[in-house]
Amino acid sequence: MARIGVFVCHCGENIARTVDTARVAAAMRDLPGVVYAADYNYMCSSPGQAMIRQVIAEQGLSGVVVAACSPHMHEKTFRGAAAGGGINPFLCEMANIREQCSWIHQDREQATGKAIDITRMIVEKVKRNAPLSTIRIPVVRRALVIGGGIAGIQAALDIADGGREVVLVEKDPSIGGRMSQLSETFPTLDCSQCILTPRMVEVSQHPRIRLYAYSEVESVEGCIGDFKVKIRRKARAIDESRCNGCGACQEACPNKRIASEFNQGLGKRAAIYVPFPQAVPNLPVIDREKCSYFRGKARGSKKDLCGKCVAVCGPQAIRFDQEDSFVTENVGAIVVATGYRLYDIGKEQDDKRLKGYGEYGYGTIPDVIDGLQFERLASASGPTSGAIRRPSDGKEPKTVVFLQCIGSRDPAKGIEYCSKICCMYVAKHAMLYRHKVHDGQAVVFYMDIRAGGKGYDEFVRRAIEEDGARYVRGRVSRMYRDGEIIKVLGYDTLNGSPVTIDADLVVLATAMRPQPGIEGLAQKLSVSYDKHGFINEAHPKLRPVETNTAGVYVAGACQAPRDIPDSVAMASAAAAKVLGLLSNEELEREPTIAVVNADLCAGCFHCERVCGYGAISHREIRDRSGSLIKVVAEVNPGVCWGCGTCQAACPSKSIELAGFTDDQIYAAINAFADL
């Protein structure tokens, strides 16, 4: 026998101005099954909540309806009050007569009538509510960080320092990411590697961090608290237990003409190589596409295969026959920190939506380079030992032109967003250039200067006022090679005249893009990404380090362009979320998720097809002798979000949301239709 209590809130003037709350309460009193109905000024206040507790006890209520604001606001509050009053919290529901009634209507008569309808519908539903218990799932108290750049490193260290084990996966042979390639960082002009490498060493030595470098995530299964991640450890062709990092193999390799990825194509490396001296781990890797041994083998040669590295390797660590291996790690939380790469101005693009800059030569002019290449020139460990030199002839450029917004803020090329860091690093480049070439002239073509961080605007002003950078507001229409120089045809919109510069070197500030292959990784993790590939955060304002997939967090430039301090902050924030999650032995989840009635389920798996979260799995039902009777759907309580799509799709009505059964929904609808 239902004994429902209805509490109609005035919400001050928010509801009461438009809805006659006393009349609503009176109308409820007439409903069969309602034993108590009252209206009150502020139900969410302490006295309001106390009233709920008191009436539950006095009237022996079997259900509570609070007609007030949106459940988003106070469902938790009132369920807490109901629990305090001694009934199951899921026997308490809200009827939204504010956002869905008083806030959107003006006619008092009609609004009151609507409020009565809404409340009556919820009363009928609540009569059919069943008590539900919070779901608890066990937590594996380890974390996975994907990406070993500064964001991944920071997240791994924070989680490990917080007492939890971390698995760090990095696809390149060494961790360090883009920051290891930089010369100096703004706004302090700290040597980038000097501040980064201590962190890298810490990662390698931390007792709670397991580092898989030169590895990639192969597959991900499971849910928050219990992910099973298969990791592919790519074959370096090196026995890690024997290699002592002496580097003799690099020296001995006969093929040293390969464009170095670490030096962004400006320097050379060998076929067996350590990407840079401070690499962590300090292990070489063999590039099988360029190594003479592997190429010979691929051609079918059996004799005279190169083995110069083997010959000089003291510890005998080279293993040509090594193959990729797999390892599975069980973790409770995942942080995605895969970082960025730069947009390329070439004619061929990996994304059909993008175009290159034909007007700047499509990347065929050798002395037109990008920001990371300039960093390698400026870097003391770079191909020119820190001297600024033209790639074409090695001469020192006396006029360097920097162009901002290449790709960025350029819908015609396919990228409409601003890449955030370029204004700052161009100023930095102009300053580094002046510090190294005292009689050199830097010219910067810009549209705007975005320097909002701490000390940032002052930094740009320093470039202009102290280091002589000439800033020209306008874009460049075209550039082409003219003998030894590059003719740059731009415009100064501030004084209204065309500007032509004969440049010795041109540096393009190209757009930041997420790493290639991010879409594939995101799909493995079931996280969403935007049209550019950037990982989507759960809420742009209030949940910036979470994704919409429970247990998967995001940090750094893989979510949007950002600089080092913001990436580090985001990584620490993600680590905090992870530590919070892992501080529990069990996770609580709302029980309003799908439940399968195995007796009715025919195993058609429409539900599986429509589930956007991968929450449906197959369960075999066998008889006592072990023979298979049927296969039915089963809901993973850790993954299901309670969206209800399966309930709508199921032809046999054998899957329903607890708390939102067909019975309850129809009761509410029928109450409205007076059936």
Partner: protein, 298 residues
């Protein structure tokens, strides 16, 4: 292959040699040119600069004529006509209200089904045939391929070649054994329709183009537009020139192809130019018949 042919006003007058050479090479290349019956002026600059609806409608009339004659494609050798016709097709295709209005104005059935092609596209697509039929390879002839502005821009309308680094004309030149040069001004405007109303601009723009082609080592400039030809050929004498700089003959791309196919230079209209084309003839084949200067108007 049969294709609708829209000559445009200049090809029957000041750019006669363009049509002459195009017709001469069409046969050997297996292209049957079906000139649109009773075609009218596309409107050129004067229409689009003063009355957009008129510009689209005048161009659309010819597209409708091509449709009525059953053509699936229409070639307009003049780059300006090509631009007007292709732009009309593009705009009508993208704006239903405009399409309706134009149909009302034309009073003719019109599905906007005919594809508009430039001479560069047609010849590039025939490059293999050109190479096969080349009997007099233009070895050692350095050619600057001049696209002008409208052949490959705007990219949304043209689409058959890259708007900043096009290569269709170079492909054609290579097919006849010529040597295209790398030069900078291949897309810079010659001054177009300002030939009469603002000649001084044309002389300035034209000079930069000819000088750059010459500096790049070219001995001839190949063009695909009557206005470009007129501005660079007819007006070359009036351009200021550095002492010792030779005049550069300006050839239509169809004439370049015709020479490679071994056709008679007079039949290609090479006697109708203002800048003497004889140096080109001497360069490619010392024994080739020198083009006798025309004395009749035929």
């Amino acid at each position: 292959m049969k294709i609708g042919y829209y000559p445009g006003c200049s090809l029957h007058a000041t750019a006669r040699e363009f049509e002459q050479s195009f017709r001469a090479i069409a046969g050997p290349l297996g292209i049957e040119l079906a000139e649109l019956d009773d075609w009218s002026c596309c409107g050129a600059t004067s229409a689009h600069a003063t009355n957009h609806l008129l510009a689209v409608s005048l161009a659309a009339r010819n597209l409708a004529l091509a449709e009525a004659e059953g053509h699936s494609a229409l070639v307009a050798p003049c780059a300006a006509c090509y631009s007007r016709l292709a732009t009309a097709r593009h705009e009508i295709g993208g704006d239903a209200a405009l399409a309706k209005r134009v149909r009302e104005i034309l009073g003719r059935p019109f599905e906007n089904a005919v594809k508009v092609q430039s001479i560069a596209e047609v010849l590039r697509d025939a490059a293999k045939t050109i190479a096969e039929r080349t009997t007099r390879p233009l070895k050692g002839l350095k050619v600057a391929c001049y696209y002008g502005c409208l052949l490959v821009r705007p990219p949304a309308v043209t689409g058959f070649d890259d708007a900043e680094a096009p290569s269709s004309m170079e492909d054609v030149v290579r097919a006849v054994g010529g040597e295209p040069v790398e030069w900078r001004m291949k897309l810079d405007c010659c001054g177009g329709g300002f030939s009469l109303s603002r000649t001084v601009s044309v002389l300035r723009l034209g000079r930069a183009i000819v000088d750059d082609a010459r500096d790049a080592g070219a001995r001839v400039i190949a063009v695909a537009c009557p206005m470009c030809h007129s501005n660079l050929d007819f007006r070359q004498k009036a351009m200021a020139r550095s002492p010792g700089a030779e005049e550069l003959p300006i050839l239509f791309i169809t004439q370049v192809v015709g020479l490679g196919l071994g056709l008679d230079p007079a039949g290609l209209g090479l006697n109708r130019h203002f800048v003497d084309t004889a140096p080109v003839m001497r360069r490619i084949a010392p024994s080739a018949t020198a083009a006798a200067p025309a004395t009749e108007t035929g």
